[in-house]
Symmetry: C2
Subunit: 129 residues, 2 copies
């Protein structure tokens, strides 16, 4: 399996790309600079490097290049989660789940969805027995 290892800054940018879809450096930078403080060329350079690493694809047909994420949010999430469960939560996924539910308050809807998910998983386990 191909190992994906985006750095901290790269993840921030990917996060924005996943949320917004195709974006220019300027757009990314404007969002980034709301929470951190870095020059425009810094963001540009980062995205150029991400392009080299093929974390993003870019359309250079117009003067202002347009970037899109080249790795899926799902796969990246799974990979990072797995590593985190392993090193930080001693291998217990449910430990992580409870910790996550504990502090980040979720809406009633979301909790309901999770509950349904749980039921589905339990049913599946029963069927496999």
């Amino acid at each position: 399996m191909k190992q994906i290892r985006p750095t901290e800054s790269e993840l921030e940018i990917l996060g924005i790309l996943w949320e917004r879809g195709p974006s220019t450096v300027r757009e990314i930078h404007d969002i980034l600079s709301q929470t951190k403080d870095a020059g425009y060329t810094t963001t540009l350079k980062l995205m150029q490097i991400m392009h080299e690493k093929e974390l993003v694809a870019r359309d250079t047909s117009s003067k202002t290049h347009v970037y899109t994420a080249a790795i899926s949010q799902q796969k990246t999430q799974q990979q990072l989660l797995d590593k985190m469960i392993d090193t930080v939560f001693g291998g217990s996924a449910s430990q992580l789940v409870m910790q996550a539910l504990g502090h980040h308050q979720s809406s009633e809807e979301e909790l309901q969805k999770i509950r349904q998910y749980l039921t589905a998983i339990e049913k599946q386990q029963k069927d496999n027995r």
Copy 2:
């Protein structure tokens, strides 16, 4: 709030310390070398640096020093989770929860615990209304 930022390697060591309790460099190294491949002095150096950063405390009363984790597993978990939810999961904790439950198969017991947890949270929300 004090920001904790252990690196990848530091997290591996912390993970072992959390699981085993107080340990010597030798003990840590033996465990580490099962999964990765690094010299003894590398592990030693890492732990010395972690000591400088006050990620671990050490008892130097005997020749062979004994290290213990100086930051709690709970707090560290929470901090890393929060950041991850933020950057990788677009702020949705339940998104993370479902992803985690989906791939890491948990035991029936664990699922049951999570369900209880859910119920408790929902009840709490109701009471706060």
